[in-house]
Structures are given as structure tokens and as C-alpha cells.
Amino acid sequence: MIDVQTKMAERAVELLCVPEDKPCYVLDIGCGTGLSGDYLSDEGHYWVGIDISPAMLDEALDRDTQGDVILGDMGQGIPFKPGTFDACISISAVQWLCNANKKSDVPAKRLYCFFSSLYSVLVRGGRAVLQLYPENSEQLELITTQATRAGFTGGVVVDYPNSAKAKKFYLCLFSGPSTSIPEGLSEDTEEEKPAKSTFTAERVPYRIARRGVVRKSREWVLEKKARRRRQGKEVRPDTQYTGRKRKPRF
């Protein structure tokens, strides 16, 4: 039985799109007990892990991982020379930056510090794939905003978006010129169902349609009511009295 962590590590390495048979120097953020690191070693890569928990790192030592591990806080920055790593992965770790453990912690600052130092330690054109569990869309937006501020391009790949259990978020970041992000996995692969809405440059000729209608006429009133219904507002139903010509008393 393959561990969930190992499966996520496998998907993260797949999203990294490193050339085959080329051993890379990879940074594993939040490496924990080194499960993802073991997968990296199996693929022939060399890695360095960083984690904040001494207990997890002790466990990693007992498991005799092939990569070096460092005790450190990613929110304080990655303590390496610029251009050290070819790639970076992270499994279920980055969302912890959004928690403020101490009163003095500001999550946005810690996120920015992390992403800017990550940008620096990656080689030019290096990639980072961070698997995370965002609590809500605001948290995901906070994380992606700070990553963009630090200079990264890229996007979020969502695997199995329709399954509550299997849904996984992978934040794919590129430090070089922008390339297209890979497609997320989904259960029904036969159907060509786009996960994102299609944007068209077509503009609906709205104003031209409205110019023909006389203001305050019955037609105009009906059109306005239909527009408000489209906007989702509460509108009284249309009856025979809608837009009726009132007595001059009004």
C-alpha cells in the first residue's frame, strides 16, 4: 500500500517536469520524516530537507534518509546561497505559514519572506511545486498573492476537483519566463470538461439594444425588471399592471 504522502510526492515530482535521468538538487520544504525525500532519492535526485519539528527530524534520522535535513523555520527564510537548488517540492507544509503561532507573527510577512527567499535559492528557471491544504479560498489567495509579489509565475493545479476526499491543491511556481501550467487530474478523463471558465473577447452589444427602447415606457420597465432578475435581485412578478399608464394624479 503506497502512502498518501508518497503518492503526493510522486505527483509533485511529475509536475516539476524535470528532464528524465538528470539528477537534480532538490529542496524539500517541511520534509518531516523524509517520506517525500525517500521518493526523491528513489528517482535519483539529491535533496535537502528543512522542517521546524525536531521530533519529525529525529524520526527522519532513524529512517536513515539519504538527504541532509535541517532544523529551521521556513517563514524565517531559506538559509542557502542564491541559485543553489534546481527545484523545490513541499508536501502538506506551506499552509502552516498562515497560522500565527506567536502574537508577533504576521502571516503575510512570513509568507513573503518565505517566497522571496525561495525565489532567490532556486536557479534561474527553477520550479517549485508545493502541495498544500488551504483552509479556504481567502487563504489560497493570500498565499498566491505573496508568491506573485516575490516574483514567481505559475498557478494552482487542482487534482480531482469534484471529490471532497481526493481533492488536492498543487501550487506550481516558476522562477523564469512564464510557461503554461499542467492540467489537473480528474476522474472522468473521457469527457473534455474544462476546470476553468472559458474567456471570450466577445462583447455583448448591450447599449445598442437599449437605445431602441423609450425611457419610462412599459417595454423599458419590463427590460429593467428582467435585468435585475438576471443580477439575482428580488423583483416583483410581471402582471398586466406592470408599466401601466397611471392617472395624471401620479
Binding site: K22, P23, Y25, G44, Y46, V48, I50, I52, P54, L57, D58, L61, Q66, D68, V69, I70, L71, G72, D73, Q76, G77, I78, P79, F80, K81, G83, T84, K102, S104, K109, C113, S117
Partner: protein, 125 residues
Amino acid sequence: MRLLTHNLLSSHVRGVGPRGFPLRLQATEVRINPVEFNPDFIARMIPKVEWAALLEAADTLHLVEVPKEPIQGYEHNEEFLRKMHHVLLEVEVLEGTLQCPESGRLFPISRGIPNMLLSDEETET
């Protein structure tokens, strides 16, 4: 902690920036661990290695047979690559300290794990 990692580690104390490198190594316990030789990887890491820091670290650990500088055409020189592989990947520091050259701050190494946690005052703003 292997010497390759030490060579690339830098201090991230506030205000230090690029002067936080190289970290001065003091080791009390060292271990030699055989690692599978991969010439591609070693050849690719040679340009990233900071030789002065590597020589200093190797000197502290009393290592012999450390090349003084990269040879011309090192990618195909297997003997050179093997020596570098031994120095960079097979020598592990288990106990010791790393010192930031600019701020003098000491990072302890325990069971091969360097402790790079900073206090609040030292963290970059």
C-alpha cells in the same frame, strides 16, 4: 550534514545578506558514509561549489586528497570527480557548530542536523 550542504548554507540573520557566507565550520564528530557515485550530479554541482569555503572546511576536518581547484575538463576526469564525490557527499559532520562570519552567531549541529532557527530579533523584516 554533508560538506556539500555546508558549502551552500548561508546565514539568514537580519542585516547580513550576502556576507552571511561562508559559515565557519567547527566539528567534533565526523563520519564517513559511502554513497553511490553519480558523475553527472557531481559535474553539475562543481560550478556551484565555493572552493575557498570547501578547502577551509576540509582543512578543519583534516581531510586529505582534496583538489585545490577545478581542473580543466573536469566533467570527463573521473578521478577528479570521484575525489570530489568523496569530499562533498561522503563526509558527514555529526556534531559541531557553524558560525556566521558577519554576526558571529553560532548555529549548533546535533546528530547531523544543523539548527538554523532564528529568534524574533534576528529574523529579516
